[in-house]
Subunit: 203 residues, 2 copies
DNA sequence: ATACGAACATACACAGCGTATGTCTCCAAC
DNA sequence: GTTGGAGACATACGCTGTGTATGTTCGTAT
């Protein structure tokens, strides 16, 4: 399963990775609009030609960055949740892990602040179906099935939950580094309180 | 208080209003990025010169549109809330009125979808301080003071509430016209349930 | 009657994306 | 080992759209 790569292929992979890396930093620091592909290219001592060789356009490059960050986040969150047996506890751990991960300014800025701008709401939502939104929906559903939550329409509840977590993610992205833990704990409390309120007493 | 306007001033006011009107429709239909000032100008049989005479730049034109829509919404919401005596009832009526108003696709698209993109999150938030966010914060505070809500940190709670309402506003903006009332009612139920959960029993 | 300034139109500079084309170099086959 | 081909980039250009600088018209005050 490890097809020995040719020298050329290896070089190509490395520049692609370097492009992703540089783009990640640029997007996180200056935002999507104010990042020119020229900058990204020169960062790795290449030209825009290299960028357009590896990615069809600017938004595709951004999407690649987005996918990397988001899939890593999902991996960690599901890992933590899988460690719990009780559905409600699993959800709470997932939230906690999400808030922890959102303290990373790169993640917060790119996924919660820049992505909707860069991809547009619709496309962003489409992408998130695979990641956060999809995970939230299935978690909520399992909570409804286990009797932890009332049988409200799934769509609005997941959508609202998505935005509640988004609010926290954005707040954490904006918070100065030395206040992140305080902000994280405040939001954790507030979210826990809200979710507990929405909870049903187990029958 | 009605300083009789000169002919010139009247003409000027009219073109300004026409620009705002055309821009509103363009922004609502095609979004901020895909609306060129050329289009807006030709819509009212003028040139980009007129636009740049009345507004310093593209985002300023958008902000003007945004302010119009948002101040009108706030006017209606506060009006409705003022009709209630009980703080909690006032808040619920305000939510209801907000959801009603959000069924207008122009409002939803511009205020909740395009505004963060056009102005950037930070500026958007700054603008909203005057409108929705400010109103929410003071409402929450009054609910905490009246003992309807627990004394959690104000900032995260208002922020989250803001995003909960935003989720509803966006969903309504996206929903096809013939489903808007259904979606509105679903979100109304979900939000009511969430807020009721967060509520404290009156002492 | 005229001069001045507001309200717009016209013209230009510049940035940034996307695309078309060129060049180099690795690799394979003979 | 040289040659053909293709992948990996670089170079060059066109185009769109913003912002600005300059020109023109036309009310209005004096």
């Amino acid at each position: 399963m490890s097809p020995v790569k040719s020298r050329r292929e290896q070089y190509s992979d490395e520049t692609r990775a370097a492009l992703l890396d540089a783009a990640t930093r640029r997007f996180a620091e200056h935002g999507f609009a104010k990042t020119s592909l020229e900058d990204v290219a020169t960062d790795i001592r290449a030209t825009r030609g290299a960028v357009y060789h590896h990615f069809p356009n600017k938004t595709a490059l951004f999407e690649a960055v987005f996918h990397e960050l988001e899939s890593e986040m999902i991996r960690r969150v599901t890992e933590v949740a899988a460690g719990e047996t009780d559905p409600w506890q699993a959800a709470m751990s997932a939230v906690r892990q999400f808030l922890d991960g959102s303290c990373d300014p790169v993640y917060g800025r790119i996924v919660w602040q820049e992505a909707p701008i860069a991809l547009g709401w619709r496309r962003w939502r489409e992408c998130e179906e695979k990641y956060a939104y999809g995970l939230i929906e299935q978690t909520i559903q399992s909570l409804m099935e286990s009797g932890d939550m009332p049988d409200l329409p799934l769509e609005p509840v997941s959508h609202i939950t998505f935005h509640i977590l988004g609010a926290a993610g954005m707040a954490l992205a904006e918070a100065p580094p030395d206040e992140k833990t305080r902000v994280r704990d405040e939001y954790a409390r507030a979210i826990r309180h809200i979710l507990n309120g929405a909870r049903l007493p187990r029958t």
